[in-house]
Symmetry: C2
Subunit: 238 residues, 2 copies
């Protein structure tokens, strides 16, 4: 399911010009799209607004304008602003989850390759871009005071964390390391999130490539018998 739908959404949308699928002709007006399409359109407009104005200044009017629709329409498709935001967060969480699961599936059976692919997936353009990162961060800022957000907000959720722990365990057994798998997995996933934060801030000269390099540096440090310094994975026989 997630692997089939993935191709349409995650490719080619460069940084999303926020007007990708909006045709320039007003096309009269009226109902031009299905219910689900309209919901998605509004969610995308919400992400745009979160990224451009931040959580506290995202208004229903801005979302509607961004989608090129009228004011009242959001309350029709989503019951309230709160519901809209929850749906948006759910949308992003699902997308993220699909993304890493899909990447993991394609990685084959080698744990070292699997972990490398997972880390690389985090820096894929389709999810790691200013727009999405800003939206994530907007929700993080509100998560502590909202239980509903908190549950969805860890992009790197429990399942993700368990996969990391599992892979760390396997690599430890295979490479005879003496680290503590749970702690190492936590350090790794926290680092990925921290790098996202840095990328979102946009300051300094931290680009996606630089951030990815830093992550690879960690892999090479923690699993020297599985990863080389240049970011490539060492062969199993080496």
């Amino acid at each position: 399911m997630w692997s089939a739908a993935g191709t349409m959404k995650t490719t080619a949308l460069k940084e999303r010009g926020s007007d990708s699928e909006r045709q320039s002709e007003p096309e009269k007006r009226g109902r031009k799209a299905s219910k689900e399409t309209r919901r998605q359109q509004l969610i995308e407009a919400t992400i745009d607004s979160l990224a451009k104005r931040g959580y506290s200044e995202t208004t229903m009017a801005d979302v509607a304008d961004g989608a090129g629709l009228s004011r009242g329409i959001v309350n029709f498709h989503f019951e309230s602003k709160e519901k809209l935001l929850v749906a948006t967060l759910q949308y992003m969480a699902d997308e993220y989850s699909q993304h890493w699961r899909s990447a993991l599936q394609k990685a084959g059976d080698d744990p070292a390759r699997q972990l490398g692919v997972l880390v690389a997936a985090d820096f894929d353009r389709s999810i790691c871009n200013k727009r999405k990162l800003a939206a994530w961060c907007a929700f993080w800022g509100e998560a502590k005071s909202r239980p509903t957000y908190q549950a969805l907000c860890g992009a790197r959720d429990e399942a993700y964390q368990n996969v990391f722990v599992d892979l760390c365990r396997k690599l430890k057994a295979d490479g005879d390391y003496d680290f503590e798998p749970v702690a190492t997995a936590l350090a790794l996933s926290a680092m990925l999130e921290g790098l996202w934060l840095r990328l979102m801030m946009g300051t300094e000269d931290v680009t996606r490539e630089v951030a990815y390099q830093a992550a690879c540096e960690y892999l090479a440090s923690a699993f020297p018998r599985h990863y080389a310094r240049n970011g490539t994975k060492l062969g199993k026989t080496e």
Copy 2:
């Protein structure tokens, strides 16, 4: 400094009851504190509100109530809500900066000890508690769309980052490692920030100790000739 004054504020206050220094007697009313004290009191109330309600729901009324003062008072001491929030962020940034500089100063000349102390400082109760972390995160969420915040928002600012790079370089020379110092420093500081984020979310079973352990795990991985697995620093001669 923080170690001397620390006893009063950072201990025993469980998580800051938000009414620590407010005496229960109304004390008539009227001006009971100096200008600077009052400003600080309002800033503390702002942090309380940010932590409890999040950025978007922090109101002037809530701040005033939290400080036990009247509505109009905030606009008297700070010109506007925006100025209050900037002052609050500045306050936290200064506190963080002082904290790590002070820790660094006490660490002596050994780079390995210096780095270890810096990492440990990040998990000190006085700055690493739910209240402060939540406030930081509230600002992070708004930083992208506000240049003023962006400049102050990296608790781990440029100076901090430079110290990390410098220490990584020294340790590399001393321990003959083959990592890239800039990338390693970035990975390390990003990981610290990511761990903060995890602590803030409060979910899972990530405690301050667990997070610190994860950070130490990284040190042991990246600098095996300087740090042991149990979190202690290896002697220079060993």
